[in-house]
Amino acid sequence: MSRKTLVVVGHGMVGHRLVESAVARGLLEEWDVVVHAEEDVPAYDRVALTSWFDGRDDLCLVADGFFDTPGLELRLGDPVVAVDVEARTVTSRCGLVTPYDALVLATGSTPFVPPVPGATGERRFVYRTVEDLGRIKAAAAGATRGAVVGGGLLGLEAAGALHGLGLETTVVEFAPRLMPVQVDEAGGVALRRLVEDMGVQVRLGASTQQVLDTDGGLRMEFAEGDPLDVDLVVFSAGIRPHDALAREAGLAVGPRGGIDVDEACRTSAPDVYAVGECAHAAGRAWGLVAPGYAQAEVVVDRLLGGQATFTGADLSTKLKLLGIDVASFGDAFATTPGALELVYADPVAGVYSKLVVSDDAGTLLGGILVGDASQYALLRPMVGAPISGSPADLVLPVRGDAPVGAGAAALPDSAQVCSCTAVTKGEIRCAVSEGGCRDVAGVKACTGAGTVCGSCVGLVKDVVGLELKALGVAASTALCEHFDLSRAEMFEVVRVRGIRTWSQLLAEHGRGAGCDVCKPTAGSILASLHGEHVLDGEHATLQDTNDHLLANIQKDGTYSVVPRIPGGEVTPEHLIVIGQVAQDFGLYTKITGGQRIDLFGARVEQLPQIWKRLVDAGMESGHAYGKSLRTVKSCVGSTWCRYGVQDSTTLAIELELRYRGLRSPHKVKMGVSGCARECAEARSKDFGVIATDNGWNLYVGGNGGFRPRHADLFLTDVDTDTLVRTIDRVLMFYVFTADRLQRTAPWIEGLEGGLEHLRAVVVDDSLGLCAELDAAMERHVAGYSDEWADVLADPAKLARFASFVNAPDEPDPSLRYDTVRGQIQPAPRDAGPVLVAGPTLQVVR
């Protein structure tokens, strides 16, 4: 197949990010990439531009030798001057005509210079490129006074720079305050004081009428007030998307400029994309670098055949101006109907903090921090989340160690805790003290609080906890220090609120960065509800190493692979493949207690190769790890056994294929025996099925392990459809409501009303939940795909299976093995070298 050409116009921050991502994600396998840059230097960190004045010379974003990569070409100082979308070519200033198969416009933006007389010419500058800064620095050498037109984010940054160059500096702003887009009036007052304290003068409400050349200098004249005499002026009054090239090529542009793109970042012309500040995406142009990076990733994903979209980004900003803290986030201007503002101001210390909260003061909507933005990192992720405690605690300066949850104690009994169901704090306390409720679940059932949107659950929990404490009862079902929720509550919150990502869950209901308890729990819940691949995006960060590498870690850091053998039935051909894989990779082989074969000693970088062999032979690897279905043990049943009354093997295979991959609170095991002799030990499983003359008996809640327990009889003599539907429902109800690492037996014991209650829920539909349980299971069954094959098909996932990020195929040099009974075994750690693990095969990527 002939190679295709991707042309990138613009080598700024976003354009370069796109090229980097294209290389990292393997686009060069089929594409050549040509980059046209207007500037004479390769892409650099424009965000850190100002630090160039401090002598920083490492702003370059391009690694040494990066463009030596075959298939990559960078044409510096040769901007594209025309695009022909019909002929699919671009023409550069040097006259080079390059045909493209795909074109990306990443031309950034141009500084906006107000159209007043005398705005351009000598001693007038803009602030966008290294070249601009070079000119400013040269002009500043013989100067004493400078002005910056524009008191926004960039203007203040430029003013800080002029001040740093030793100039007497004035900021001229048209609006009545500084940073009018991010900061409100009172915040502007505080900011102005801080800026003036730094020695920079501020002139507000000043509209520049003209700039005149005087003897050796400039005179700025305003609509009102005295003129200002300076040696140089920097215009930093905003930016405009650099869309001229696109306009001339006939591409559609947004109402206020910017190349119009859809959520795949496609422009109106076929195979032409636009990203970064030149694009008008998701309804606006984005003047920050992060949204541009997101767009770059979308385009690379699309070129690789993916479905990524850009639908918007966070515009929160924090100013990095020489020692002044300013931050603005969320609904900073309280535009939400009914929004309340909480303000703390200390003019002496130069601090102004404002938080915007919902009309019930229960949810943080946004805020402005001037003078002290230390709380920014903490507050920004809380936007949209219920405030536990008094909102005032968030805005007041931190004093000592106020206990978390103190807010609940401060609420009066009449305060509405749950706004969806109008339940007050007093009613919740009463449910605990008089109604006998001992946890959040009980209070929810009794009062209804927390059962609608779920956003008050944290507060409900605080109130319950306080009341229990007052009663002298100790109880905490909190998962860990990051979540006050139990697993079941977390499940409920995720389900009811439709949460799809860890970030959202943590921001709305947790704190800190999570841990090895809450992250895998959240990962499991998100997987059981939405069925996305466990390694998709952020989900990957939640998984225990077993789920992350889809295999089971062993004591020496290698993994075991347990090919799925549904129901324990295996063809000789498959057995041979398993044997051959074990032989080729030098793996220790053992028959498990669960009717399958475990292959031990596989290294991270070997796992995909092993799976590929299995997948090619029509098998899959299996879940011997993870909280999910393990095996469905079978006996041979009526097909061969002289006593068998039903085909237990076929049912076992059906059940294993139906429930494989479902993420659950703990592992789940099943067994199917063909008659009452019970050779499959079904009653020692979570779900046991035993054949009868008339159909099947179902047993639930058995296990071996630490506290062996036989399963209890649940249904008698049912047909296969009824049996499967009932298992579906019990299993899903378990997934919905059990606690973390609670197997089915303790779960059933913990249900109020026990087995009878369970039967009422799944057989008589007493909670009206069956339709939802059925639908959830349908979704799981329909959505199942071979997780291991999915990894093989996705280069981004495959990249995780590298032993070292800088030496992807190099075996862990610390591994040592002995040979015992003809197979490898990990050598004691301090023993000398014996044999390095199995052969190294070439990884196919």
Binding site: A24, L61, A799, A807
Partner: protein
Amino acid sequence: MTAELLALPAWTTVCWLNQLQVGRGVAALVDGDQVALVRTPDGWLHAVGNRDPRSGAMVMSRGIVGSRGDRPTLAGPLYKQVFDLETGECLDDPSQRLPVHEVAVVGGLVRVRLARD
């Protein structure tokens, strides 16, 4: 002073910053030693030893990244002991510790310099 500077190990360029997923570690080979590189959600990059002190296995890079109080942490994937990523201290067992290496990002590339022990 000069002698001391000379004795410092060299910086090794290991990978692109954007090869590292926030909230997940990777292993790297640096001067024949194994390093776990971890990018935490607050934007920091940490480099600690890849050897799990309890098992001796080279697995720390595969642990779960998180926090305890205000400390950024990494949990051992085999036995779940939690280490402070900044100091290398084990927060569950003071007798264990991970070496903490220097790490820097220059022009989008991650560089590591081994700690002297």
